[in-house]
Subunit: 104 residues, 2 copies
DNA sequence: TCAATAGGTAACCTATTAGTTACCTATGAA
DNA sequence: TTCATAGGTAACTAATAGGTTACCTATTGA
């Protein structure tokens, strides 16, 4: 979970996700065209995204094909809605407690 | 957005959110009881969470009262579902393209 | 009033992150 | 076959994150 949020906590990396999502099977070089930093820097971002399972890749000849993987996002999405519900449940409990005049 | 994801990319910080959500208006010291690290370390986590607007605080006497703020989470939630839809839309487009025999 | 309590600031240390350059490997096309 | 291309590895640097201790300020209650 840490790695997932960590991977998403970077605008360039979120941009890479958009790029790969919109060009499934694209190469590393393709992604590099969108950035001013070195290829190595981009590859490090790719590694972070792959560790978070947000990208998967397969080697085809001398090029590495990149694919976006929505699964961890689905996980976050589901976990998130649950957490979100719990948060509001917590707030409602607090509200109820206050309304009923309980002491803090 | 970076600060928000960054703030969430740490298990202790997510735990702090849970603690404050479940004890609205609690003190810094209260939060510290749940962790083995120094109070200063906890306060730094609190600062990160406040920068991400996930916590708000008010000073009352010599104690600082902490409150969970769901607003940024709602923002993520909404942005996220949108992004999520877009991702699936992207995948569907790709699928359609393949089915229709278009070239890569 | 004065000591205990709650919190804040400063200075420092270490590990991680994000970038760089230099160099290496493997594939594919002329 | 050989050279341009796509990618990978290593070693280094600068900035940031996350922790520490020491010390300071302000409130509150006995």
């Amino acid at each position: 979970m840490d790695k997932l949020f960590q991977a998403l906590a970077s605008a360039p990396r979120r941009e890479i996700l958009d790029i790969v999502r919109d060009a499934p099977g694209c190469s590393v070089t393709h992604v590099c065209r969108y950035f001013d930093v070195s290829r190595i820097a981009v590859m490090k971002h790719l590694a972070v995204l792959e560790e978070a399972r947000l990208l998967v890749s397969e080697k085809q000849g001398r090029t590495r094909r990149l694919y976006f993987n929505a699964t961890p996002i689905q996980m976050i999405y589901e976990r998130w809605t649950t957490e979100f519900s719990a948060m509001w449940a917590g707030r409602l409990t607090e509200f109820k407690r206050r309304v009923e005049g309980d002491k803090t």
